[in-house]
């Protein structure tokens, strides 16, 4: 059900875009902290010792493709094709879980190599920034799986397409944040 405000626009979409705007400031502050302290660690391990560009490129590709799945899910639900809507929703959540698995693997490897939140400035700012992003991905995966199960039970239909659109806005934003983090953390070492 779409709820319209005095602007004639959906209240829920206004709320989501406002939330996304506030998230820009949250991630802006975390990125700033990371970059301000970049290269200021006095003990290792340092970024160049640990960051694995080929591995993270693959997980980045996975997240980018999850955005394609998301937009295809919305298109399917909007045209009333719930079978493909469910498939694409599940695929989006699945790719999100693959990305999260990659992040868990990366974090475990870093901890094994001696980098924790307390080791140095790189560890503290890296885990805070990428961990916050990972938490957002986890929330997105739960959200998408909830929509998938609602669709399975017939409680998500073409009439609720806006519900999928709003989840999609959140998911694409998570992807957009990673586009920035991939460049700033991994490529501009």
């Amino acid at each position: 059900m779409e709820m319209h405000s005095s602007t004639g626009l959906s209240s829920r979409k206004i709320l989501m875009w406002t939330f996304i705007g506030s998230e820009c400031m949250l991630f802006g502050s975390l990125i700033t902290t990371y970059l301000v302290y970049r290269g200021k660690s006095v003990v290792g391990p340092y970024p160049e010792d640990l960051l694995n560009i080929p591995f993270i490129t693959v997980t980045t590709f996975v997240l980018l493709m999850s955005s394609l799945m998301m937009v295809l899910a919305l298109a399917a639900v909007q045209r009333g094709d719930m079978r493909w809507g469910k498939i694409w929703l599940f695929m989006t959540a699945l790719l999100g879980m693959v990305f999260l698995g990659g992040q868990v693997f990366e974090f475990s490897h870093f901890v094994h190599e001696g980098l924790t939140l307390k080791t140095n400035l790189f560890g503290g700012t890296f885990f805070l920034l990428t961990g916050t992003h990972g938490a957002h991905v986890a929330v997105g995966v739960i959200w998408l799986l909830s929509l998938f199960f609602l669709a399975q039970r017939g409680r998500l239909t073409q009439a609720n397409a806006e519900t999928v659109e709003i989840a999609g806005l959140y998911w694409h934003f998570v992807d957009v944040v990673w586009i920035v983090l991939f460049t700033l953390i991994y490529l501009l070492v």
């Binding site: 626009l9 875009w17 705007g21 301000v36 590709f61 980018l64 586009i179 460049t183």
Partner: protein, 98 residues
């Protein structure tokens, strides 16, 4: 501010094409990262490629290009504030001095 009505969204083919372009740009970013000859222009090139990907996802996948102007304002306004605060902090802490 007037709110222009929502326009038609892109086709499935366009979405797939956009995703392919995003994948290619990501591959180009990694190639640029490994090419030592491009080290002097590494930062501007990577930031430009990243901005291109950012714009494509926000404009086409999030439909901001086609949606009401109010949504654009709600996103771009805080984004500019965030970027301005980041630039101010970078200047204060000498990030641009390397």
């Amino acid at each position: 501010m007037s709110n222009s009505p929502e326009q038609a969204h892109p086709s499935t083919r366009t979405y797939v094409l956009v995703a392919a372009i995003l994948a290619v740009i990501t591959a180009v970013e990694v190639v640029v990262f490994y090419l030592e000859a491009l080290d002097p222009v590494l930062v501007p090139v990577l930031l430009t490629l990243s901005a291109a990907k950012f714009t494509m996802v926000v404009g086409l996948f999030m439909h901001l290009k086609f949606d009401a102007r109010l949504f654009r304002a709600l996103f771009i306004g805080p984004l500019f504030v965030a970027i301005a605060v980041m630039m101010a902090m970078f200047l204060m802490y000498g990030v641009f001095r390397g």
